[in-house]
């Protein structure tokens, strides 16, 4: 079974530029999460989707971050314009709703803003 796929794996951009990350969850997983993990810290939830609806985006900096999951499958996270403090790993995760609610994480997209 294929895992959670993320791309690109690594990205370096200048501040005020834009960047987009893509995530393809495990097939059939209704719940999709985007996390931000700053070096030395635990992951922080940015947004949680259930199918194509947003469950929680309370910690998403909406002035610069946006995310969508239009068809309830893959998802895109965008940052525009980027700031230095956005340098982090962006983790995508997915899970079923039901008995097997294990959360599976992708390898992450590593962003450096210079």
């Amino acid at each position: 079974e294929a895992g959670v796929a993320q791309s690109p794996r690594y990205k370096i951009i200048e501040k005020r530029q834009s960047v987009a990350f893509w995530c393809n969850p495990i097939s059939g997983h209704a719940t999709l999460y985007w996390y931000q993990q700053i070096l030395g810290q635990g992951p922080k939830l940015l947004i949680q989707f259930q199918n194509n609806g947003v469950v929680d985006d309370s910690q998403l900096p909406k002035d610069r971050f946006s995310a969508e999951r239009l068809k309830g499958v893959d998802s895109t996270l965008k940052i525009q314009p980027a700031k230095l403090e956005d340098s982090a790993v962006y983790l995508c995760a997915s899970s079923l709703v039901g008995d097997d609610n294990t959360i599976y994480f992708g390898e992450g997209s590593w962003l450096t803003v210079v």
Binding site: T31, Y33, Q41, G42, P43, K44, L45, Q48, Q50, V55, D56, L91, A93, S95, V97, D99, N101, T102, I103, Y104, F105, G106, E107, G108, W110
Partner: protein, 112 residues
């Protein structure tokens, strides 16, 4: 609301000795509980999970965890540490509303 407290930010052990990582949680519901490991520059890997079945859960790489409802704890143990166990460990709670809560993480170092 739910929260997760990992009681030790850093644990240092000698190779071949036991490892204990402590996790306490608070939740209004009957949560699912997970331990994940993150090696340097890697993603999060599931070690084990508790989902209201057996209270002693065995995971990969010789790790196990015991769910104690009366103590609201889910401590992770391994009888004999290996150098490859050096990593960051996260305790995670998933309540009925599917809003994950992460602990702050415990860094494990293993001395030769």
């Amino acid at each position: 609301a739910q929260s997760v407290t990992q009681l030790d930010s850093h644990v240092s052990v000698s190779e071949g000795t036991p490892v204990l990582l402590r996790c306490n949680y608070s939740s209004s519901y009957s949560p699912s509980l997970f331990w994940y490991v993150q090696h340097p520059n890697k993603g999060l890997q599931l070690l084990l999970k508790y989902t209201s079945a057996a209270t002693l859960v065995k995971g990969i790489n010789g790790f196990e965890a015991e769910f104690k409802k009366s103590e609201t704890s889910f401590h992770l143990t391994k009888p004999s540490a290996h150098m490859s166990d050096a990593a960051e460990y996260f305790c995670v709670v998933l309540p009925d509303d599917y809003k994950l809560s992460f602990g702050a993480g415990t860094t494990v170092t293993v001395r030769a």
